[in-house]
Symmetry: C2
Subunit: 234 residues, 2 copies
DNA sequence: CGTGTGATTGACGCCTGTCAACGTCTGTGG
DNA sequence: CCACAGACGTTGACAGGCGTCAATCACACG
C-alpha cells in the first residue's frame, strides 16, 4: 500500500462522523484503503461519461463536480452537484447499468476511486453500510422527484429563485453574502432548464427588485424572504 | 398465521423469478409471510399520503396505483405508476423520511403490506436482497433523472407523445392496439406536466395526423414510429 | 493585438396557460 | 321517468412567458 497524498486526504475525509463510510469496521476500512485510489482532477476534466460503463465510484475529497445529462441538441441538464464527502457514480455501479449522467469537474478536485467490486462486496457484507447507501439513494430519489414537480409546474422565474436558494443551502454564503459557488449563466440555465438569455434577463430583474446583487459571476443574495416568495418556496 | 386470501395471492406473486424477493431464503420467506398482510383496495382509495410517516411498504399483487406529488395550487404531478410485482413506499421506509408522494388506486388492487421493521431486518440480514432493492432504487433514480431532462428540454407535444409510448411499454396494448391503461385527460396532463386543455388539443392533433385513434378514454396507437419521431424518442 | 468565450440586449413570434362557455355522460333522488 | 348535480371532455379567444436569432460588448489569454 502506497502512502500517497490521496490516502492522507481520505483519512481526513472518512474520519467525519457523517461520512457514508462511518459504519465500516476497522477491517473493512482497511480493505477500502487498500483498494481505493485518490487523485487530483483539474477543472474541466470529465470523471465519467454518460453511456459508458464505469468500473467504480468516486468519493469527493474536495472540489465541486457537476452531474448532468445531455439532452436534445446536446444541451446539458444539470441534475445535481457533488462536493466534499459526496459519493458519485454509485448508482450505475449498483444498478449494473451504464452511466446515465456525465460528471465534470467545475472546481479543482481530489477524488477517491473505489472499484465496483469493492463497493459491492461491502454492501453485501455490511448491513449497516448497505442501509446507509440505500438511504443515500432514496434521498436522492426523493430530491429528483421533487424537482420533477417543480420543473413541471413552476415558471422559469420561480425556478431560478428556487435554484439560487438551493445553491445557498448546499454551498453556503461567504461573509459578504455571496454564493460560494460561481457558475456561468449557461450553467445556471442548465439547472433551471431554460435558455441562457432568459437567465440573464431574470437575474437583471431580480437585481432591479433588490433581491440580489451581481458582480460578474458572483451573486450576492440580498433578500432571502423575497427570493422565497418569488420562488414559491415554503 | 391465518391462511387469508392475501397469503395465497402473495405465494403466487413471489414465485415469479423476477420478483424483488427472489433472493430470500426459505426461512426469510417464512418471516415475510408471517409479518405481511394482504388486502384489497378499491379504486380511489389512498394507500399513503404525502407528508405522512408510513409504517411499511406495499407490494402490488394486482391493480394499478398512481404515485404523485402535490404541487402549486394542489395540482398533481404523477411521478410513476405501480402495477403487479412493484414495491411502493420503500423509499420513505428506508430513508426514514416522511412520504414524499401520495399513492392512490386507479384500478382495483390487492396490496401486501410489509412492516418497516421487517423490510429493514431483511435488508441488513440478506446482502443479495439488499443489492436487489438497491438496484431497484437506483433504477428508479435513473428514470427520474431522465424525466427531469425531458421535462426541462422538451415541448409539451414531444412529452405527450413520449408518455403514450411509455404507457405502451409499461402496460402494453390489447389485441386491438389500445393502451391497456385508461386515464382521464387530467391524469394525462398531470404526467406530462401541462394543462388539461393542452392535452385535449394535442391528442386531437395526433388523431388528425393519423398517429392515434380515440374512443373515449381508450387510446389506440396507430403509428409507433410516427409517435417516436414526434416525441424525439430514440 | 487578434481570437474566443461568455454576457447582454433587442426584436419577434409561437407555444402554451388561463378563462369562459358549452356539450356529454353518469348517477341520484324526488 | 324526469330533473338535476357533478365530473369530465371539448372548443374558442386571448395574452404573455419564454425560446430563438442576431448583433454587440466585455474580458481573458496566447
Amino acid at each position: 500500500m502506497k502512502n500517497n497524498p490521496g490516502r492522507t486526504s481520505c483519512e481526513n475525509c472518512s474520519s467525519k462522523s457523517n461520512n457514508i463510510f462511518r459504519n465500516l469496521s476497522a477491517e473493512e476500512h482497511e480493505i477500502l484503503a487498500l483498494d481505493k485510489n485518490c487523485e487530483p482532477h483539474k477543472k474541466g476534466s470529465v470523471i465519467y461519461h454518460e453511456g459508458n460503463r464505469i468500473s467504480g465510484c468516486y468519493c469527493v475529497s474536495n472540489g465541486i463536480i457537476k452531474i448532468y445529462k445531455t439532452g436534445i441538441d446536446g444541451k446539458e441538464q444539470i441534475i445535481t452537484f457533488a462536493k466534499t464527502g459526496d459519493l458519485i457514480g454509485f448508482r450505475s455501479v449498483l444498478s449494473g447499468e451504464l452511466a446515465c449522467t456525465t460528471a465534470k469537474v467545475i472546481e479543482d478536485a481530489h477524488l477517491c476511486f473505489i472499484p465496483a467490486d469493492t463497493l459491492i462486496y461491502l454492501v453485501k457484507k455490511n448491513g449497516e453500510f448497505s442501509m446507509d447507501l440505500m438511504q443515500l439513494a432514496c434521498k436522492e430519489l426523493g430530491e429528483s422527484n421533487a424537482y420533477i414537480t417543480d420543473i413541471a409546474q413552476k415558471t422559469v422565474r420561480e425556478r431560478l429563485a428556487e435554484v439560487l436558494l438551493h445553491l445557498r443551502d448546499n454551498f453556503g454564503l461567504d461573509d459578504e453574502q455571496f454564493l460560494k459557488i460561481t457558475l456561468t449563466r449557461e450553467e445556471l440555465s442548465n439547472i433551471v432548464g431554460t435558455a441562457t438569455e432568459s437567465v440573464i434577463r431574470l437575474l437583471s430583474e431580480f437585481k432591479s427588485d433588490g433581491l440580489i446583487e451581481l458582480h460578474g459571476r458572483r451573486i450576492k443574495l440580498l433578500n432571502i424572504p423575497g427570493l422565497k416568495k418569488t420562488g414559491n418556496v415554503f
